[in-house]
Symmetry: C2
Subunit: 335 residues, 2 copies
């Protein structure tokens, strides 16, 4: 029996004698034989590896993305090559190089911000790519566009319905495209309900807890304080909660706060954080599907592909009716 026959048996080529197939499988069991993926990849030209680039695993936004991406990948007999760049262009470059060397069949760039020239090499090789929000429209690259407005609109209407009138927004860093999109969505949503945003109530954060804490301090020092604060991400909201804890301000009694992202942490906060969900599981799934579709597509679409991810409000316990305005409008309210 030749190696060719064995190969055929393993790969279930129908023309092999069932008797032989049996023998082959028995031998495999006995010898504990496992095929060598490298050799397979070498001859087939298909590595069955997808690259996955994230900013940092310790940012609570990413673990679920990686988890889900990995699970789906395995189901499709793909392996993932994971790298976290810490937002360092040099690391980004090195990870791209490693990915090319390992012959990845596609790369999901889940790092918010920078769609860099660093990726030129990947594009040159026609490696399918998928970005969040920032990708160019060109063949073999897909984009996951986040519909920030849908969820943020819900959040704004939610607090407005709770009679809040002074609604603040803490932004992310203004260098970050996705953060600016969130701010714009907030402004739009405010306009939609016929109000004019009070610019004093829009302050800049940096998507960290400390940034949220500081920004909250500013807001609380205002002559006319907000009664509700919406945040550009959950970590910011956690900073707000921290600040309120320090200052003895009770959430949601004295102040309502809403986050964005719905990282796992959000539900562990006390009180559990009301937040706009941008499903990490869904994001991962879309990214994988986009890559897979591209790999299986013979002729690349000239304009690449686009997918949209909706966002939606998750009501938990960090928002409540505005006490002052509830009283003003004659609504009884227990203390």
């Amino acid at each position: 029996m030749s190696t060719a026959t064995v190969s055929r048996a393993i790969n279930r080529v129908p023309t092999v004698n069932p008797k032989l197939v049996q023998r082959v499988w028995r031998a495999i069991k006995e010898l504990g034989y496992y095929p060598n993926t490298q050799a397979r990849a070498l001859v087939s030209g298909r590595s069955r590896i997808f690259g996955l680039i994230v900013s940092e695993l310790t940012n609570p936004f990413f673990p679920e993305i990686v988890q889900v991406f990995e699970t789906i990948a395995v189901r499709h007999h793909y392996e993932i090559l994971l790298t976290s760049t810490m937002n360092d262009p040099e690391q980004m470059e090195s990870s791209v190089r490693r990915m090319i060397e390992r012959q990845v069949e596609g790369v999901a760039v889940m790092t918010f911000g920078m769609e860099d020239a660093v990726l030129e090499d990947l594009k040159l090789r026609q490696v399918p790519l998928v970005f969040v929000d920032v990708g160019p429209r060109r063949p073999r690259v897909s984009n996951l566009r986040i519909d920030y407005l849908s969820g943020i609109r819900q959040a704004v209407q939610h607090v407005a319905a709770l009679r809040h009138e002074r609604i603040a927004f803490i932004t992310g860093p203004h260098t970050l495209k996705s953060a600016m999109a969130r701010k714009q969505a907030f402004l739009k949503a405010i306009h939609e309900i016929g109000r004019d945003p009070d610019m004093e109530l829009i302050v800049e954060g940096n998507h960290t807890m400390e940034g949220g804490r500081l920004a909250c301090g500013h807001l609380l020092a205002l002559a006319k304080k907000p009664t509700a604060i919406l945040c550009s991400n959950d970590m910011t909201a956690i900073g707000v909660m921290r600040r309120c804890y320090e200052d003895g301000i009770a959430i949601p009694r004295d102040l309502s706060v809403v986050g964005f992202d719905d990282i796992r942490l959000a539900q562990f906060m006390l009180p559990p954080l009301t937040t706009v969900q941008m499903s990490q599981a869904e994001l991962a799934r879309l990214a994988f599907d986009a890559l897979l579709a591209e790999v299986e597509r013979e002729e690349p679409l000239p304009e690449g592909s686009e997918y949209v991810l909706k966002t939606a409000l998750i009501e938990r316990e960090s928002t409540a009716i505005c006490r002052s305005n509830a009283a003003a409008s004659g609504n009884a309210r227990k203390e």
Copy 2:
């Protein structure tokens, strides 16, 4: 110029003419050439891949481990093959198979619990392995032993010094070796300070928030309630905090709580959680070093290797002096 020369130039074999080396590198730049790792691995017999098996990425204990392991791996020109098993033996088996097929040079099994027969295949192949707490002593397998006692002793002494007398402990699942080790450490530490543990105050949790919440409920229903609760892990402590929040019990004023693990979340809690740190970064580093040492060791040690990871108390704000006992002993204390 032959391919061999190019290969030598790339691999910096000193005997090649500097002129040629120059030309080679220039051509590489121009053509955007990257060596094919698969082919290299095939001929060299070294994949430069380490497997990393974790339980689940969404468990806050793991992301930092993965992050650090990956960072170190890259620095040593290794790639990691990451799989999360969700504690499912079947997934564990499949991931082991995939690792063998990809010719990993070593595997770090960071999944607390089960050192399974599933790993037989790996052992057969003499693949270096590293476990946490549960590995057998045999050639090519290393063990990271956690020194639970050092940190738990500090925690016990810390709350004892704060005049707490009724100190409770919420365990993990009793099927989990590492959880039982923590409980034993607690008992030992209590004895060390000359006290007898009150078995009524030892209740079982399951390392989840809900488990902690329930266990805390039991403890609070006791005729003689504890004034301090130590937990087998941080998620349990978070459950305790949740329960107290629901019941209007103030931490640390009415109750002190201590966690274990020091997951990132701990510092974001309100109040920030006092906890026993088991450094995830250190754990990852030890695991990688163990693997690397084993790969580079020609002759395997007959008994494998052992490394010890210390634990230590991180004091934050969820513990405070016991009010009742402070008063009883005549200590004034502001409200």
